[in-house]
């Protein structure tokens, strides 16, 4: 029974990782870059929601309303100022600049907010602590269900946008061949800037749920980036529903690892990731043979 409970909790944890992975996967899919500051942008979102919620005594979900548009704008500006230029100078430069950005964000947050650990869990009341108790040992947390539902909705919205809207068509065209897309009137930089804006906003959403679910601090970013990346790779790069699957595999690995010993939780996730990377499927992912 303990194991079944761990698997159930792992599925809900996977929802959170899938939420983090959405934006990372979107930027990789459209621009072929991995944003090493993704986790830190999410933590900016956590701090922004925390500031609004505590200063104005609001629920974190209402505090999200002004924060999300601000994060959209931040993502848009991030692309226009830094990423657009770094994309022009070869495949390595975006990695170097986003890594530099990650260092800057972490230390700026540390300077502004001190290294204290915060949580939004206390502000959401029974939502973050309550659960449906099915049996003595099996319970379904309200928050887990909410996060998983949001992740599924968001991924579904991504899928719909990609397949059925003009913007999705522009993104797919630019991802396949930016020069040709530009020839038919789809400027890559504009598509990239909008995709970055969306990715950063979803990162902030994920950061908010992380803050409600557990705790956050200025140095939380890299861990979330790594989990998001693991989810994306396990699920197959570029695959929308694969991201959800990858997040859930990672979440279950961590909760089962935690049963054996709480210290093994994160380690178990890393090991599952490395085993999948070493497997034939990992080789397919690495060479780009697995796609949507």
């Amino acid at each position: 029974m303990n194991w079944i409970n761990a698997i159930v909790q792992g599925v809900f944890l996977g929802g959170l990782y899938a939420l983090f992975a959405c934006g990372l996967s979107l930027m990789f899919g459209v621009m072929r870059i991995i944003n090493l500051a993704h986790g830190d942008l999410a933590v900016i979102g956590s701090f922004a929601v925390w500031m609004v919620a505590t200063r104005a005594h609001l629920s974190p979900f209402i505090a999200l309303l002004p924060v999300l548009p601000a994060m959209l704008l931040l993502g848009y500006l991030l692309h226009r100022t830094v990423l657009a230029r770094s994309l022009r100078s070869g495949p390595l430069t975006p990695l170097l600049t986003t890594f530099g950005l990650a260092i800057v964000i972490q230390n700026a947050l540390l300077q502004i907010f001190s290294p204290d650990v915060h949580s939004l869990g206390s502000l959401t009341g029974p939502l973050s602590t309550g659960s449906w108790r099915l049996t003595d040992q099996l319970s379904v947390p309200y928050l887990g269900v909410l996060i998983l539902a949001v992740a599924i909705l968001l991924l579904g919205a991504f899928q719909f946008t990609m397949e059925h809207t003009a913007f999705g068509r522009e993104m797919r065209a630019t991802a396949q061949d930016p020069e040709t897309a530009a020839l038919v009137g789809v400027p890559a930089s504009s598509v990239y800037a909008r995709a970055t804006a969306i990715a950063v906003a979803t990162a902030a959403l994920a950061g908010t749920f992380l803050a409600i679910h557990s705790t956050f601090e200025p140095s939380s970013g890299p861990t979330q980036l790594i989990f998001a990346f693991e989810a994306v790779v396990i699920g197959g790069l570029g695959s929308i529903w694969g991201t959800l699957f990858g997040g859930i595999v990672l979440g279950i690995a961590q909760t089962i690892g935690a049963i054996v010993n709480p210290q093994y939780s994160i380690l178990a996730g890393h090991l599952v990731f490395l085993v999948i990377l070493a497997s034939p499927r990992g080789r397919l992912i690495a060479t780009g043979s697995v796609s949507t």
């Binding site: 870059i33 950005l101 260092i103 380690l267 490395l274």
Partner: protein
């Protein structure tokens, strides 16, 4: 120089070294030899500072070998830095003499790098970057779970306290200088020989290089193992210089930040760049490290600025004006 029937060709000559590179290599060789004498003339503090400078130099050279020539941006070289340090601890706990243990630990890091290369080198670009990071985090977790290696609280290197402080710092310094010279020399050989043309081609365009018959995989593998060895040595030497390590600092991603900063500022993909970068970084750290997070914000911003506006670093400013190479790794075409 051979006479060619076609005068258009016979009036050109291919030359490997120039006056500048002859002076440069001699200066580098002599300053390297002269640096071995430092412990005879200066106090313990100067020797320790110089040791940390040469550790930074070693790490910068290794990171540049990966990113500058093989196109592999690693955010996880701290895996090997930590392995070198904890390998030394592990061996000394089993009665191996500390300095011998440091060399063996560096070799062990190279062995681990060989195994990991099979897994990691199949990844491209950003995937490789985060993949190496995951490996570093995994090894850090495994080490911090091992109580014999001090767990998460850290551990001291025993066995070096039998030497007087002056002798100990001098030995560590000489070993650092030895490792740095050895790795610079190995990299120089790689760049000067047939492999060098291949590496330069991979640096400029991996796919084009592969299509011209450059065997990309073995070259990348050599550099990854060499970097594993060098970073392992860097970790072991850091341990010998500070005598105490903790998993979260020796496996910390800040090492990658430092390496990226040094290489970007000095000059990515140049032999001379990381040397300049390491000296600059050492001076910056000496002056500003007390500023804490402001110092790191500054480092990050400077690294971003260099990546965007001067991707070949400070060395390119010198090189573009004067066309100097300190070491004869390339070819020059001269009109007779």
């Amino acid at each position: 120089v051979t006479d060619h029937p076609n005068p258009a060709i016979s009036s050109w000559r291919v030359q490997r070294s120039s006056a500048a590179s002859r002076i440069g290599s001699c200066a580098l060789l002599f300053s390297g030899l002269a640096l071995f004498a430092v412990p005879h003339f200066f106090g313990v503090n100067v020797v320790q500072q110089l040791t940390s400078l040469f550790i930074f130099l070693l790490l910068a050279v290794m990171w540049n070998a990966l990113a500058g020539y093989a196109g592999l941006v690693s955010v996880g070289q701290q895996a090997f830095i930590g392995l070198g340090a904890y390998g030394t601890i592990f061996l000394t706990q089993r009665g191996v003499q500390p300095y011998l243990a440091m060399i063996l630990a560096a070799v062990a890091s190279a062995a681990v790098a060989t195994i990991l290369s099979l897994l990691l080198l199949q990844l491209r670009g950003g995937q490789f970057a985060v993949g190496t990071w995951v490996v570093a985090e995994t090894i850090a977790l495994l080490v911090s779970l091992d109580q014999e290696l001090g767990g998460g609280t850290g551990i001291s290197l025993r066995g070096l306290n039998v030497y007087p402080r002056e002798i100990r710092t001098a030995f560590t310094y000489w070993l650092t200088l030895g490792f740095a010279s050895l790795l610079l020399f190995l990299l120089f050989l790689l760049l000067r020989n047939r492999t060098g043309a291949g590496l330069h081609a991979i640096r400029d365009d991996e796919q084009a290089a592969a299509s011209l018959g450059v065997r990309v995989w073995p070259l990348k593998c050599i550099l990854f193992v060499l970097a594993g060895f060098g970073c392992g040595a860097g970790g072991a030497l850091t341990l010998a210089n500070t005598l105490f390590i903790q998993p979260q600092s020796i496996f910390g991603v800040q090492w990658s930040a430092y390496m990226i900063f040094m290489v970007l500022v000095g000059g990515l993909g140049t032999f001379e760049g990381p040397i300049i970068g390491a000296i600059l970084f050492f001076m910056i750290q000496y002056t500003f490290a007390d500023l804490g997070s402001w110092y790191l914000i500054g480092l990050g911003l400077v690294a971003i600025a260099f990546a965007l506006f001067l991707p070949r670093g400070l060395w390119s400013l010198i090189n573009n004006r004067l066309h100097i190479q300190l070491l004869p790794t390339g070819y020059h075409l001269l009109r007779l």
